[in-house]
């Protein structure tokens, strides 16, 4: 359902959002919802700030020590894409975001592998 058309609604983030397929504005797969970040506001209810895609996010859910080590090694390359909640346009079969895959840091590895490996092989 398109989020802006929904009335008051309760959504279980762990069941309906986390680990879902993320697609960009042109329905291209760009990753999965590897994490969800809340914004904690003093005196007000917390709210969902962004969904997190790629980088070391998954590793943090599996093994903290390994994730910290990889993050130190990779530096900026290990940073995930943070997609603000207001850019999440639809949650249905997939989580659709108003983002261009080509520009998003979520597709960093997809682009790097395309430009440095796959494109150099004839017929790609």
């Amino acid at each position: 359902m398109a989020l802006h058309r929904m009335g008051p609604h309760r959504m279980e983030l762990g069941r309906e959002v986390l680990d879902q397929q993320v697609i960009d504005a042109h329905d291209r797969q760009i990753g999965r919802v590897d994490g969800i970040a809340l914004e904690l506001r003093p005196g007000k209810p917390a709210r969902v700030a962004y969904v997190v895609v790629g980088g070391t996010t998954l590793l943090w859910r599996l093994h903290r020590g390994l994730a910290a080590w990889v993050e130190r090694r990779l530096g900026g390359e290990g940073h995930p894409a943070r997609i603000p909640w207001r850019q999440v346009v639809k949650i249905g079969l997939d989580v659709k975001v108003a983002v261009e895959a080509e520009q998003s840091p979520a597709s960093r590895w997809e682009r790097w592998i395309r430009d440095h490996i796959v494109s150099r092989i004839p017929g790609a």
Partner: protein, 404 residues
């Protein structure tokens, strides 16, 4: 495309695609060592894979999710990693077995040792995936795979005794060598219930854009395709039981295996055997390499699709581009492809609960299947076969490895 044509093509795909290194090697080995006595294991495996393939297709048609896709979002990454790694590992070993099978066919045809064939074979496989489309891989490989029907012709020409064959369909205790009997039994089940088959099928249903209208078609394709496909494996077992068993020939004597068809069909039989082995393993290798790429891409949410150009789905294309040479490397080290194949099939049987139970959980979840969830028969049949196969494998594999 008309529904009837689609059903026919689906069944042909099942028949032409069923036989591969694993089912060929295990059926031949079982027939050579025990005659018809292990036919029941084949029957069990075929029934189980027909159920599993139907489930994977129904899941895709109703929920529009491939299997890895649904598993990842239903169970979360930590749990999903267990079937992911298991399926990837088992599939990789089976991939290497198929590459070995193609190379062995070329060795039979040319006399040049199979190790020298790994590089051209891997390159050709890769080229098919790099340039080909999903239809080419799925339909093309299976249509060529119809050459394996030569085993059915061979089996009929050998005039098997239907009564004795039917008796083999009932499980019985071995008269001699129980360790090897049970090891072969689980290898046969593992060969039929290879997870790559139903993982690949679920990705295929999405590639072909199935919806709920496809549920009856899916049931027919899965049921008949797998049953007739299993019939080809039964034919291999019959050929081995009637050609190799009376002569006391074990399958590990490579130069003797083509006798399977050369004995009933003469000189043409030799070449039909070589073509069957080569084509069946080549088609299966294509599907497994592709399935490894599907598995990773769908599990991690990368862009995927065999109809996209490699540059449009770079991580997806990279997976098979890396997996194929690695599988070739395993064969080039001189590992015995037959031993590798049979061992991979036993490992597959051992891992069945890990690959099958998450699918069963999904198939009973109305969030994914709505009112199309599993009935108790399919649940019980699949669960029973996987758990029993796993337990028997747990005992039989160490016995086979370390001798009794």
């Amino acid at each position: 495309m008309s529904k009837l044509l689609e059903i026919a093509l689906g069944i042909v795909t099942g028949i032409g695609g069923f036989l591969e290194a694993g089912s060929l090697a295990t059926a031949a080995q079982a027939g050579a060592a025990f005659g018809y006595q292990l036919a029941w294991a084949l029957l069990l495996g075929v029934v189980c894979i027909a159920f599993l393939v139907e489930m994977a297709g129904r899941l895709a048609a109703v929920s529009r999710h491939t299997l890895p896709d649904a598993m990842r979002e239903r169970f979360g990454i930590a749990f999903f990693l267990v079937p992911l790694v298991t399926v990837a590992l088992v599939s990789f070993l089976v991939l290497a077995s198929e590459v070995g099978g193609v190379c062995l066919a070329l060795q039979f045809a040319s006399g040049v040792s199979l190790r020298w064939w790994t590089i051209p074979v891997v390159l050709l496989l890769w080229l098919f995936l790099w340039k080909g489309t999903f239809g080419l891989v799925e339909k093309g490989a299976s249509l060529l795979g119809l050459v394996t029907l030569a085993f059915v012709v061979g089996a009929v020409r050998l005039h098997p005794d239907p009564g004795k064959l039917a008796a083999g369909l009932l499980p019985s205790l071995p008269h001699q060598d129980p360790a090897s009997y049970w090891f072969m039994a689980v290898s046969i089940v593992g060969a039929s219930v290879s997870p790559y088959l139903f993982y690949f099928y679920s990705a295929g249903a999405i590639e072909d854009e199935w919806d709920e209208d496809y549920i009856p078609i899916n049931r027919i394709i899965a049921g008949l395709g797998m049953t007739f496909g299993g019939g080809v494996a039964v034919a291999v077992l019959v050929c081995a039981a009637l050609v190799l068993h009376p002569a006391g020939i074990q399958v590990d004597r490579y130069e003797q295996i083509p006798l399977l068809l050369a004995s009933p069909l003469g000189r043409a039989g030799f070449w039909l055997f070589v073509a069957s082995l080569g084509v069946a393993c080549f088609g299966a290798a294509l599907e497994i390499a592709l399935q490894l790429a599907y598995l990773a891409a769908q599990g991690f949410g990368w862009r995927w699709g065999e109809n996209l150009r490699p540059r449009e789905a770079s991580r997806f294309a990279l997976v098979y581009t890396v997996a194929l040479p690695l599988a070739g490397l395993l064969i080039a080290t001189g590992i015995d492809p037959l031993k590798l194949t049979v061992f991979s099939m036993a490992l597959t049987a051992l891992s069945l609960p890990v690959t099958v139970v998450p699918l069963l959980v999904l198939m009973n979840d109305p969030d994914y299947l709505r009112e199309r969830t599993n009935g108790w028969i399919s649940n019980t049949a699949v669960l029973a076969v996987s758990v029993v196969a796993c337990i028997v494998a747990l005992v039989a594999i160490p016995l086979e490895l370390f001798g009794s």
